[in-house]
Subunit: 323 residues, 2 copies
Amino acid sequence: MPQGFARNQCKRFHKVATAMTVQHRIAVIGLGSMGMGIARSLLRAGHEVSGCDVNPDSRQSFAADGGLACNNPSDASQHASIAIIVVVNADQTDAVLFGSGGVMETLAVGSVIVSCATMSPMKAKEFAGRVEAAGMFYLDAPISGGAAKAGTGELTVMASGSEDAFAAAEPALKAMATTVYNLGADAGIGSSFKIVNQHLAGVHIAAACEAITFAASMGLDISRVFDVITKSAGNSWMFENRIPHVLSGDYSPRSAVSIFTKDLGIVSDIGRAQKFPLPIASAALQLFLRTEAAGMGRDDDASVARLLADTAQIDLPKAEENA
Amino acid sequence: MPQGFARNQCKRFHKVATAMTVQHRIAVIGLGSMGMGIARSLLRAGHEVSGCDVNPDSRQSFAADGGLACNNPSDASQHASIAIIVVVNADQTDAVLFGSGGVMETLAVGSVIVSCATMSPMKAKEFAGRVEAAGMFYLDAPISGGAAKAGTGELTVMASGSEDAFAAAEPALKAMATTVYNLGADAGIGSSFKIVNQHLAGVHIAAACEAITFAASMGLDISRVFDVITKSAGNSWMFENRIPHVLSGDYSPRSAVSIFTKDLGIVSDIGRAQKFPLPIASAALQLFLRTEAAGMGRDDDASVARLLADTAQIDLPKAEENA
């Protein structure tokens, strides 16, 4: 968030990109695990990258990698032709774009905003309208793949927007992603696809946690359950990815519970707005809410299994046992 | 079911297995899509196969393939060293094993019963106890893979039982399955693994149907959604397998809705017996029940999508449009 920062010069430490490799000046707003990974992929591709984050450690680390660390989105966007917004939700996107010290204060007409936060399609449409009215392009571009793939430039982007928006964003997309879906000409479509993915991802995590704890309650060897299910019709991408966290008793956050209370919350909002009933997603949302209410919001989303195990007094593996 | 059939000679039509290829006399009780596929795989492997079913057409078809068609489980089990029970549930298994005209009337001491129906682990343990008390072996051996893989001898068997039970059943397992998990020495373990798989499979079908209809409600091109999700973290084995039925509007049963009202019903029973809460599986069960209540119990389980589309007045593809 830009609030409270004095407008001053962006700072570069250590490395300086040479004139040979500089292709574009790209701003990355938000240097969390995803934004930092994207920024590094852009630097590696030879772009000049300016970035900002409320966390001074993130700015320092970014500058040490050769980035131009700025104190607010407005400074970061000066002279940039592409601004990539990698914040948590629609409210933060609103603030970094349109708030005081925001991107829109300095970004040049004809530049493109690449909006990566998961949000409702209605919000994406609204932001696109305001950005386009100011003479810039807007790419509705939610990302998936996780922090590791952000760092290696191998994200998947579920994007929609005008041909001009895609063309203007191309140098950034090329450096940050291996798969870019062009899902349509209108903002909101990319966000809708991401929301469908988050519906399924959230339900599958909750189901995986429920099933593995249920298996433990029946006295089964849950590592054997993992082996059998991953080769059977009950498998999901999330079961295969998250259950190892339960097996090792390691709930350090790869992706936090709070991400899914947020994303299934958006799913739920859309369902209510459209009068579309979502009984399965609602049950999953309630499980994530219970897990966050129990104090595990910042822990790994596989913590839903811990919640159910605590409730039913079932023993799951503990990290200490594996040390 | 054996009720109402006169005890008479089993009938063989057309083909006769030669002495060279006969390895074992194996009875298959229940010649539905799974049992018939298993019986054919056994015949192809050179075994002498006796079988029975309440449906005369099934018996006729089985006999035409070279099987020994019998009128009841008792006749089919005479002279057999292995009896494979491929009926729908625990009640039917109980009837064909212990009822009048049942397997236990004729099966020789030292033979093995291979029980394939999905049932609660408690029932599997009960049946094993009664069978073993009579001097036979019992393999708790639920199957997965579907009718096509039953026909090609490529099933997966989630089995538990004594070493003797596995050894006695081996010729049959070899012919009917590519993967046989030996999950433990006690009956009930195999059934527990199958139940965990059915929990996840049922939830994933319901979630896939909810998500794809939700996507349609947002105006998305659902065939594009299928392409994107199957390459994303929201994917599941069931999403990939069942959504094509929705895309083609073809709800002819590959696996019926009623299978999951049954199997998620068993999941629910176990959860209640163990006082283990299952909010996700319960939500999925309710959706299958609503789909069956709406008259689609014998249709493909992807019909959950039709139910939701009907409820929310969303258009999904119709089979006629693709004809």
